[in-house]
């Protein structure tokens, strides 16, 4: 329903090049990338507030590339929300209604606003000044304002980054509920892969103005296609390797891969949560059991990060907090690193 074809946005010192994307009707799509990758610029080009140098944007088959933002029917919610400070919450929500009366009767607009107010739990906030709202409340008002005009696409620019950690889960759930209830198409820009895994069906990874990978979120997570994407989605174990008959050779270490095609591959990578670290040789592992020395064991909140070295290669593993004291891993201790061949991804 929304398609970007060879989209190019050029500035003197930065450019977004050759973006080709397709977002289906009703889909929750995520555009991921590090800070400065050009994500917000792509979002603003879709919204019509940034100029496109070359390429085409179509929405429901209509070319909107040359249309002003007000004629695109695309809503945008920025990271800083952009609530209008001189209006109260209800007037913010109703701001855009008057511009859509041709397509929408007053009655159906009121009905939609009432539904959004109900869905977002805004009843007690409507008369409040937007200055006196919490971050989460402001977020809900901004979403309601955007959805009140029934846009064909909602663009979300880092919707969670300005919130406290404890408010993020609340807004994540809210976005999930909104998408399930309204079946509106969402395109969210973020740099947090965990949020994408919770919300989106498909995603695209942008780096330095170019798309690195587009696909199902789980595919990107498990089978990144480039080194950048692998690192971005948290493949903390990534080494250059040579491949020969079901094994990858990393320095002097042989990693069993099982039966698979490795033609043209240059790297192996393993997610840290797929690596087990034990004091005794594990019996039931199919494939890779490597003696190693523990180089660090840190508690980083919800899990522990353990690093172990073998033949000049450093393995990084995430263990649950409860496991670490049980097995008593300490720096300098001999241990075993184990992982299935299926956990190894080749690039």
């Amino acid at each position: 329903m929304i398609e970007l074809s060879n989209l190019n946005i050029e500035f003197a010192d930065f450019a977004v090049r050759d973006i080709n994307l397709r977002v289906a009707e009703g889909e929750f799509f995520a555009l991921l990338g590090p800070t400065g990758a050009g994500k917000t610029l792509v979002l603003e080009a879709i919204a019509g507030v940034a100029s496109v140098t070359r390429g085409r944007i179509t929405v429901r088959g209509k070319d909107v590339t040359g249309l002003p933002p007000e004629d695109r029917g695309i809503g945008i919610v920025y990271q800083d929300l952009g609530l209008f400070p001189h209006l109260n919450a209800l007037d913010n929500i109703r701001y855009g209604l008057r511009y859509h009366r041709d397509a929408d009767s007053r009655a159906s607009q009121s009905e939609r606003v009432d539904r959004l107010v109900e869905l977002l739990g805004l009843n007690h906030l409507l008369k409040r000044s937007v200055h006196n709202l919490s971050g989460g409340e402001k977020q809900r008002i901004a979403l309601a304002r955007c959805l009140a005009v029934n846009p064909s696409l909602v663009l979300l620019d880092e919707p969670l980054s300005s919130l406290d950690v404890n408010k993020r889960d609340e807004v994540l759930m809210l976005l999930k509920d909104l998408h399930e209830n309204l079946q509106t198409t969402f395109l969210m820009v973020t740099h947090e892969f965990s949020h994408v895994m919770f919300l989106a069906q498909r995603a695209a990874i942008l780096n330095a103005g170019r798309l690195e990978q587009v696909g199902e979120v789980q595919d990107i997570f498990r089978k990144p296609r480039t080194r950048f994407v692998a690192e971005f989605v948290g493949m903390k174990n990534l080494w250059p390797a040579t491949f020969e008959r079901g094994t990858a050779q990393v320095n002097d270490l042989s990693i069993h891969l099982g039966e698979r095609d490795t033609v043209g591959r240059q790297f192996v990578c393993i997610r840290p949560e797929h690596i087990r670290v034990t004091r005794d040789r594990p019996a039931a592992v199919n494939g890779n059991v490597i003696p190693a020395t523990i180089t660090s064991a840190w508690n980083v909140g919800p899990y522990c990060e353990v690093t172990a070295q073998s033949d000049g290669i450093e393995f990084r593993a995430f263990l649950t907090e409860s496991v670490l004291p049980d097995i008593g891993l300490k720096r300098g201790m001999d241990a075993f690193v184990a992982f299935d061949p299926d956990a190894v991804h080749c690039l």
Binding site: E44, A47, G48, P85, Y95, R145, V149, P151
Partner: protein, 260 residues
């Protein structure tokens, strides 16, 4: 609690005192010089009243013209990047730097016979030399930079993204200005008008060249000073200061942000 005063704050405080004294003492001296009788007598002088009214009226008109013409320019400068923007900004600041008699001469040479603009103005019945129109033109010229710079800063303080959101909700650029940018920037517009009018009301050098008559208050003060001396010019100056003070105070109060 005993706070130690650092040498830096001592220096800052001392220089503040010097500056405050430098500004206030001459004004206090002038205000306190005329007797109450002479002040009341001056207040009954129709020529004085007319000149003060003319100054206020012409400065007000200059501020109004700055509002109409300067607001779009200020918006453009605040929101757009274009080649030569710095040059345009420097041009706008130029009237602040040019000696004001030069401004008067420049305007007069444009409005005079033999220049196509002057001929066109004559044909349309617009007289610049020795007219209220001429005074308003001069005051607009000297006051405009103050308006444009103040309002430009006001627009810059409103996040452009807010306007983007407004447009994504269906409002055109004009509708966004009327419903969002304007209401958020009106205080800076009022302050800009105050700045413009304040500068305009005090203008003397350019006005005296373009229009000695009808006489604005600064020209009258100068005329009375040269013709009759200090004592005769001071009461007019005091009344001008008082009227301006009241007007500007009122405008400042009106444009004060409302507490939530």
């Amino acid at each position: 609690m005993i706070r130690s005063i650092t040498p830096f704050y001592a220096l800052a405080f001392s220089s503040s005192l010097v500056i405050a004294a430098f500004i206030v003492i001459p004004l206090l001296e002038m205000i306190s010089q005329p007797s109450l009788g002479s002040l009341l007598e001056t207040a009954r002088d129709k020529d004085v009243l007319r000149s003060i009214w003319l100054s206020v009226y012409c400065a007000g008109m200059a501020a109004f013209i700055a509002l109409i013409l300067g607001t779009p320019l200020a918006y453009l400068l605040a929101r757009r990047s274009f080649i030569g923007k710095k040059f345009v900004e420097s041009l706008i600041d130029l009237p602040i730097m040019i000696p004001h008699p030069v401004i008067g001469i420049a305007i007069l040479s444009l409005a005079g016979k033999g220049h196509w603009l002057g001929d066109l103005a004559n044909m349309l019945g617009i007289r610049i030399m020795g007219s209220v129109t001429g005074i308003i033109v001069v005051l607009t010229y000297v006051g405009l930079p103050f308006y444009v710079n103040t309002v430009k800063a006001g627009f810059e303080a409103i996040p452009a993204r807010m306007e983007h959101v407004s447009r994504s909700l269906g409002a055109s650029l004009g509708q966004t200005f009327v419903r969002l940018t304007g209401p958020l920037a009106w205080r800076s517009m009022v302050v800009g008008m105050i700045m413009c009018a304040a500068r305009a009301i005090s203008e003397f050098g350019a006005v005296i060249i373009v229009a000695y008559h009808p006489m604005t208050a600064p020209v009258m003060i100068y005329e009375r000073f040269t013709a009759y001396g200090l004592a005769y010019s001071q009461p007019v100056a005091v009344w001008l200061i008082l009227v301006c003070l009241v007007l500007f105070l009122l405008l400042r109060i009106m444009s004060r942000p409302i507490k939530e």
